[in-house]
């Protein structure tokens, strides 16, 4: 009875490897889904030999259909766009837009080169000052040329995060107090109702004037234009977080609240141990909405106030009215869309991190 199937051990090991592989794939799947790349799992699974027929349907739905839709969209764009004649020439198709994207990249490289030359010249100047015994006049000067496309994107992202963080710092505590106390809610509600629907473009002139009046130091930490854009973002992205936090806090399980009473928790422990964990999913929903609103608002604010960033890029190109302008604006539109999408995914990832384990 000691006949041992010579392949048995190998089979066993293979089976185990397979199991481990699929566990790993499934684990990765959770993350890939968060990143919006769920289709990768199905493809990997299919490649690993897991019932190809079942996988095919998933691949079709999660991968082929979106790709087909994109191709369809590009074809429609490519064929319809040239038929619309504007005074700047025909509306650019995907090819021209791609061309301009490449041109913008090359332009950024050229600008990096001129920034390097600039730095070299500043260094030479400083060296000559040192040689001339005027070392006290030596100065490091930031590049003063035009910002590249990447600089503009980076400025916008920084601004939106700054405004969003300020909004979060203001909105979450306010939301918690509104959720916990009926009085606070009654006090905040009318203000929320009135200011929530106000357009960013209405805030902008007020913010501009107030910042100019209050922030008078010329060599402060922030540029005035940065503050104006960021505060406008704050004012508009405050509300979703505020409302959702209040809602999340006020809808805590009554049993939990009773338990806290029995345990005689103080307010701080109650908030950190009880309120926050259970309200977290809704707070994050609010934050996701806020960041989305903030990003949309920022572009509009930059366009109107000519503050550095993608919005200014769009407006400058519109004003330039050169034959490449429309294509360049479209590059910016796509960039804005992609970054908005990435920001949303980022918030979703953070949300998943915090709420994986305690999905209530």
């Amino acid at each position: 009875m000691t006949t041992v199937d010579p392949d048995f051990a190998a089979k066993e090991a293979k089976q185990a490897r397979r199991e481990r592989l699929f566990t790993r794939i499934n684990k990765a799947d959770a993350w890939l889904k968060v990143l919006g790349l769920g289709w990768i799992t199905t493809m990997v699974k299919a490649a690993a030999g897991d019932n190809p027929k079942a996988q095919m349907k998933d691949i079709w739905q999660l991968f082929c259909v979106p790709i087909l839709a994109i191709v369809l969209f590009l074809t429609a764009w490519g064929t319809l766009a040239p038929k619309v004649q504007t005074s700047l020439g025909a509306v650019p198709g995907p090819a021209q837009v791609w061309e301009q994207a490449v041109a913008l990249h090359e332009d950024a490289q050229a600008k990096a080169e001129s920034a390097r030359v600039f730095e070299e010249r500043v260094e030479q100047r400083n060296q000559r000052l040192i040689d001339a015994g005027r070392a006290d006049e030596v100065k490091d000067i930031a590049y003063t040329g035009a910002p590249s496309y990447y600089d503009q994107i980076w400025t916008s992202i920084q601004t939106v995060f700054f405004g969003f963080l300020v909004a979060t710092v203001v909105a979450v505590p306010l939301g918690i107090s509104a959720g916990l106390s009926v009085t606070a809610n009654a006090a905040l509600n009318p203000i929320i109702q009135i200011f929530k629907p106000v357009s960013p473009l209405a805030w902008l002139p007020i913010v501009t004037m107030v910042v100019s009046a209050v922030y008078t130091t010329n060599d402060g930490l922030f540029e005035k234009s940065f503050l104006v854009s960021a505060i406008t973002v704050t004012l508009c992205s405050l509300w979703p977080t505020l409302i959702n936090t209040a809602l999340g806090v006020s809808s805590i399980d009554k049993d939990l609240v009773n338990v806290s009473k029995v345990l005689k928790m103080n307010t701080y422990t109650k908030i950190t141990k009880l309120v926050l964990p259970s309200a977290l999913p809704l707070i994050f929903t609010g934050l996701r909405l806020s960041l989305g609103v903030g990003w949309m608002v920022l572009i509009a604010a930059e366009m109107l106030a000519q503050n550095p960033g993608l919005g200014k890029f769009v407006w400058d190109e519109f004003q330039n009215g050169s034959s490449d302008s429309l294509a360049r604006i479209m590059v910016a539109v796509l960039t804005i869309g992609i970054i908005g999408f990435l920001l949303d995914r980022l918030m979703f990832t953070i949300q998943s991190l915090f709420t994986f384990t305690n999905n209530r």
Partner: protein, 455 residues
């Protein structure tokens, strides 16, 4: 051999913009504003060719959305200086629109504007314009060719709308000048009504320069007066036809200035000198050798961070010719003058002309004596700074002594009647007499009260 090499090196080190001569500037990191127009060229050139750098200045140039934002930026200190409409420092200093003491040591250019009408209006105007032998319309075109069309609009109760870039802009005054010379009343301002449309036959409103073609295309306005490249842009886009340039309205008329607050100039005298030096060098370069450098300048201006329009559009006015109707190219070598004819010297007489136009249209509501015009001009225009900067440049061998009017009393010789479209001579020393000689407009002690002219 080695010795000559060393000597050569030593001299060339001295020849290159010498650090030793760099003025001890009080503020070296500066931000200047500009509007997307070809006449901002001295700023772009001074930056790109390193003239600011040579003076120890680190300048950031920033396009502004419109003239109001730009002026507010300078007043609030967000901008250290800016490419400005000549009327802006004057109006701000006398407190029209906003109150701030702004001065200018440097005039940026002569000429450079045009008046464009929509294709539809042009078709209606054409029959009223005499033709040359080759069939092209005869220039300069008077607004009297537009008069019957405006009359028709008024008779049928439709407003005839036109655009200019700012209430105290050169363009507002040039458009008014042209209209009035052709018998069309562009309307008065009064202290109570700052729309500038009192008794108007043509209604003028404000549109930022780069938006002019789009506004014309949208049909909001039937014509406009703006700087380049926004007239040529209309031709390229096929949406409008320039009918006249400001060179034809008034040969070599003063245009933009470089404006700074008086406080800045007082606190930073060396910086102001250094800026002026860099700008004069840029202006010299722009006009050098019969405009030989213009193609290079056009390439720089066509970059998206400066004017950004297509090279061909900018080149049209910058390289010696101007396209009226599509295909009707005419030589105007002096369309944009940056240095010749003392273009950069801030003449008091230029300031006085702007003030007379403010008075003519009621922006200055009360009559003023001739001496007042001179005083205001001296408060705002600073030729003494200009000459000091020029002297430094001459001493450094970067400019030619003969190019500057060292002994000028600040007043240009009177413009003869034949250089102005309505044949009325201009003498900056006699503003009130000049106002009397103009046909439409306030004179003497006249005042606008409601919609009445009193006095």
């Amino acid at each position: 051999m080695r010795r000559t090499c060393a000597a050569l090196l030593a001299t060339s080190a001295l020849m290159s913009p010498a650090l030793a001569e760099m003025l001890p500037v009080e503020k070296d990191e500066l931000k200047f504003g500009f509007i997307k127009l070809t006449d901002m060229a001295p700023l772009a050139i001074a930056y790109e060719r390193g003239y600011f750098f040579d003076e120890g200045l680190f300048v950031t140039l920033e396009a502004q959305a419109n003239w109001k934002v730009l002026l507010d930026g300078v007043i609030s200190g967000q901008l250290d200086g800016a490419h400005m409409l000549a009327g802006q420092p004057l109006a701000a200093t006398i407190g029209y629109g906003t109150q701030a003491h702004i001065v200018t040591p440097f005039s940026m250019d002569l000429n450079g504007n045009g008046i464009t009408v929509s294709n539809e209006i042009w078709e209606q105007m054409k029959p009223n314009i005499p033709k040359m032998e080759d069939g092209r319309p005869q220039h300069p075109i008077s607004a009297s060719a537009l008069k019957p069309i405006v009359d028709e609009y008024n008779a049928s109760g439709r407003p005839f709308n036109m655009g200019m870039v700012f209430p105290v802009s050169t363009h507002n005054y040039e458009l008014r000048y042209w209209l009035a010379a052709g018998g069309i009343h562009p309307g008065f301002y009064s202290p109570e009504d700052v729309s500038g449309q009192i008794n108007a036959e043509a209604f003028l409103s404000v549109t930022p320069p780069p938006q002019m073609p789009a506004t014309l295309e949208a049909g909001t306005i039937y014509g406009y007066c703006v700087g380049e490249p926004w007239n040529q842009q209309a031709v390229f886009k096929g949406i409008g036809v320039p009918v006249i340039t400001d060179y034809q309205i008034w040969k070599n008329n003063p245009e933009k200035v470089f404006g700074l607050t008086a406080a800045f100039v007082e606190e930073n005298p060396n910086t102001t000198l250094a800026i002026t030096k860099a700008l004069i060098r840029a202006a010299i370069w722009l006009d050098e050798n019969d405009n030989a450098n213009r193609p290079e300048a056009v390439e720089i201006l066509s970059r998206p961070n400066y004017v950004g329009a297509d090279y061909d559009v900018i080149a049209n006015s910058m390289t010696g010719f101007f396209e009226f109707e599509k295909g009707d190219r005419r030589d105007i070598p002096d369309f944009n003058v940056f240095f010749r004819y003392n273009a950069t010297y801030p003449f008091y007489s230029d300031a006085v002309w702007y003030l007379t136009q403010m008075r003519r249209w009621g922006q200055i509501s009360e009559a003023k004596p001739d001496s007042w015009y001179d005083e205001v001009a001296r408060m705002v225009y600073k030729p003494e700074i200009y000459l000091e900067a020029a002297r430094l440049l001459v001493d450094e061998g970067l400019a030619d002594e003969a190019d500057f009017p060292w002994d000028s009393d600040g007043y240009k010789a009177p413009t003869p009647a034949e250089d102005i479209i309505d044949g009325i001579a201009y003498d900056g020393k006699q503003p009130n007499a000049y106002l009397e000689s103009l046909t439409i407009g306030l004179k003497g002690a006249q005042k606008v009260v409601g919609s009445e002219i009193q006095g």
